[in-house]
């Protein structure tokens, strides 16, 4: 039985210039899930996410959102349904936190409707959800990396979309900020937002994700609930890494420990 899904890729062929990354790729994002895409570097996971968010046009196949090809949406209509936290964003010099979060309201605004009550409420809610209310008057360029990433997340939340895509949201953050952010995403997911994230950390993927998509060489190798698909065999097949999979001592979700090669002196 496959769960209903609003967002799906059908027979997608995507790549950059003439280099094809994925051929005839099909995935479905289960509604209400926190889907995590994992795989080695250059396996096509970010490319898939870019195609799902329409940043990248497929050379064949299509991405379907709510029964319609994503290519047929008007830009602002799409941005009211589907949000994206890109891998790299630029904050204008000297912008304040509240102002940057407010930029997330762009798809809801127009020439006449530049700053409605709804805009204000959405920005306040997004800042409250990400715990940055007290930073609201600060300049973004003087914040720490972890705080800054929260501001970007708040900007995407202010967009108020029911689907949010996250491209490596925790890269460059220390472990405490990574966990902090993953728990924030879990909260959002529990409140009903469908999330799709590209992550590097397998243990975090298995711990926080509700649905995992493992990719290698542009193709999906396995997908399903983390407890069902994360095995030593799969990790070796996808990453070429010998490992043991043990239950996470805190949550019981699969946790990957690499075996590695023996040390020169024979001890481990």
């Amino acid at each position: 039985m496959t769960p209903r899904s609003r967002l799906a890729a059908r027979d997608l062929t995507v790549g950059y210039d003439r280099r094809v990354i994925s051929r005839e790729l099909s995935v479905e994002i289960p509604d209400g899930s926190f889907t995590v895409i994992v795989g080695p570097n250059a396996c096509g996971k970010s490319t898939l996410l870019r195609a799902l968010s329409r940043l990248l046009a497929p050379s064949a196949g299509r991405v379907v959102l709510d029964g319609r090809s994503i290519a047929s949406y008007r830009a602002k209509d799409l941005a009211r349904v589907l949000g994206l936290l890109p891998q790299t964003s630029l904050a204008p010099d000297g912008i304040t936190v509240a102002d940057l979060v407010g930029r997330g309201r762009h798809p809801h605004q127009g020439f006449m409707r530049q700053w409605s009550r709804a805009d204000e409420d959405a920005v306040a809610a997004a800042m409250a959800a990400t715990g940055i209310v007290e930073l609201s008057g600060r300049r973004v360029d003087e914040l720490s990396g972890g705080q800054r990433q929260r501001v970007w997340v708040a900007m995407v939340l202010a967009q108020q979309t029911s689907l949010v895509l996250l491209d490596e949201p925790t890269t460059f953050l220390d472990i405490a900020h990574q966990i902090d952010l993953m728990e924030l995403f879990t909260d959002l997911n529990h409140q009903g937002t469908t999330l799709v994230a590209v992550l590097h950390d397998l243990n975090q993927a298995a711990r926080y994700g509700t649905h995992l998509i493992a990719m290698k060489d542009g193709a999906v190798v396995a997908q399903g609930a983390p407890a069902e698909i994360v095995t030593a065999e799969l990790v070796e097949e996808v990453f070429g890494l010998r490992c043991v999979v043990v239950p996470d001592p805190v949550t019981g979700t699969p946790s990957v420990t690499p075996i590695g090669r023996p040390r020169r002196d024979g001890r481990r």
Binding site: P86, S89, D93, P107
Partner: protein, 354 residues
């Protein structure tokens, strides 16, 4: 608009106005700065209208407008001096906005029309028309040549600097190269021309509001007004583009279309001004940056840049006409003022990079 809510929200720094269909938000600091720029502009314009062979006080200038003065004062103010003052204001605003768009799109304070080849292209285009076809400076044909020259130069710089997207610093380096080549071409054209044509071309080439009367001002002002109107719709995209292409797209901007539209607007503004008054250097470079420092907006804002551009050009024209012992083309004054600023900016940028 009955339920207009007027209030100070998020502290005293933002003003929100809301009606049933309309809602707008202003930063208080930007609003005050713009009001000050605007007041200074009106004051300076009134003074400028009174300066000249027939000196008039501000009172006399105001009453000349409302018919209280004798015929001669009215003729001097409305027929002779007003087009020039209006030209300084409108052209200055156009240059300020043009520079603001380029600087915002490239995220680089050096990327103004003067540096990236647009001004040089417009000048060369205008010269070709004056010297080869023989049209008079300030005519519609020269305007067409200047606009075409500006578009070709910008397209050339854009294509040569393009490598998987446009990066600000490449654009500037390529632009400086193309500018130098176009200036060489312009010098060659002037040297080859007949003496009287070369004289006319040189006066135009220094950037002067001298030849601007109602006949030159009106068509240029109409084009500038249309572009400003278009920017009313594109201005929001400019703000979103500051976040980077991916974020802007994800937030519902049509990035490529908006950027192309914005570049066409910026090219049109500088080219129209160049066509009517010759290349006036450095207003486009300096106005957005000074506005940025005074208003402390996040990113470059169009309206303060426009007001400051107008203020700079009007002040430069007053200095060029009345303060110096000899009357100079306004372009010479802006070059002297702007040149100093450019050196400061270059030093500042190099320090920031190293």
């Amino acid at each position: 608009m009955r339920d207009t809510a007027f209030g100070l929200e998020s502290g005293p720094r933002v003003i929100v106005l809301r009606g049933r269909t309309l809602s707008v938000r202003f930063r208080l600091r930007t609003l005050i700065a713009c009001a000050v720029f605007g007041a200074a502009l009106v004051g300076l314009a009134l003074v400028a209208l009174g300066l000249g062979d027939l000196p008039l006080s501000v009172d006399e200038v105001v009453s000349a407008f409302f018919g209280g003065e004798s015929g001669i004062a009215r003729t001097v103010v409305v027929e002779w001096r007003l087009p020039r003052v209006l030209a300084a204001v409108i052209f200055g605003a156009a240059l300020g906005v043009s520079g603001a768009i380029f600087q915002s799109l490239t995220r680089n304070p050096l990327a103004s029309p003067d540096i990236i080849g647009l001004t040089a292209g417009s000048y060369a285009g205008g010269l070709v028309v004056i010297i080869v076809i023989g049209a008079g400076a300030g005519s519609a044909t020269v305007a067409g040549g200047a606009i075409l020259g500006g578009l070709i130069a910008t397209a050339l710089v854009y294509l040569l600097a393009y490598r998987r997207g446009i990066q600000g610093f490449r654009l500037i380096v390529v632009g400086i190269g193309i500018s130098a080549m176009l200036e060489a071409l312009s010098s060659y054209l002037v040297l080859r021309a007949k003496l009287e044509v070369a004289m006319m071309a040189s006066v135009w080439g220094a950037g002067s509001l001298n030849p601007v009367g109602w006949a030159q001002l009106l068509p240029a002002a109409v084009v500038i007004a249309v572009v400003f109107l278009a920017l009313g719709f594109l201005g929001g995209s400019l703000r979103q583009l500051e976040l980077g292409d991916d974020a802007a797209k994800a937030l519902g901007s049509r990035v490529e279309r908006s950027r192309l539209g914005l570049i066409v607007c910026a090219v049109a503004l500088t080219a129209v001004v160049t066509a009517a008054a010759g290349p006036i250097a450095f207003v486009a470079l300096a106005a957005p940056q000074i506005a940025l420092r005074l208003t402390r907006t996040a990113g470059i804002a169009l309206v303060p840049s426009a007001l400051l551009g107008a203020l700079i050009l009007l002040a430069s024209d007053v200095v060029a006409q009345h303060v110096l012992p000899t009357v100079l083309p306004v372009g010479v004054v802006t070059v002297v003022v702007g040149g100093g600023y450019l050196i400061w900016l270059l030093v500042h940028e190099v320090r920031r990079r190293s």
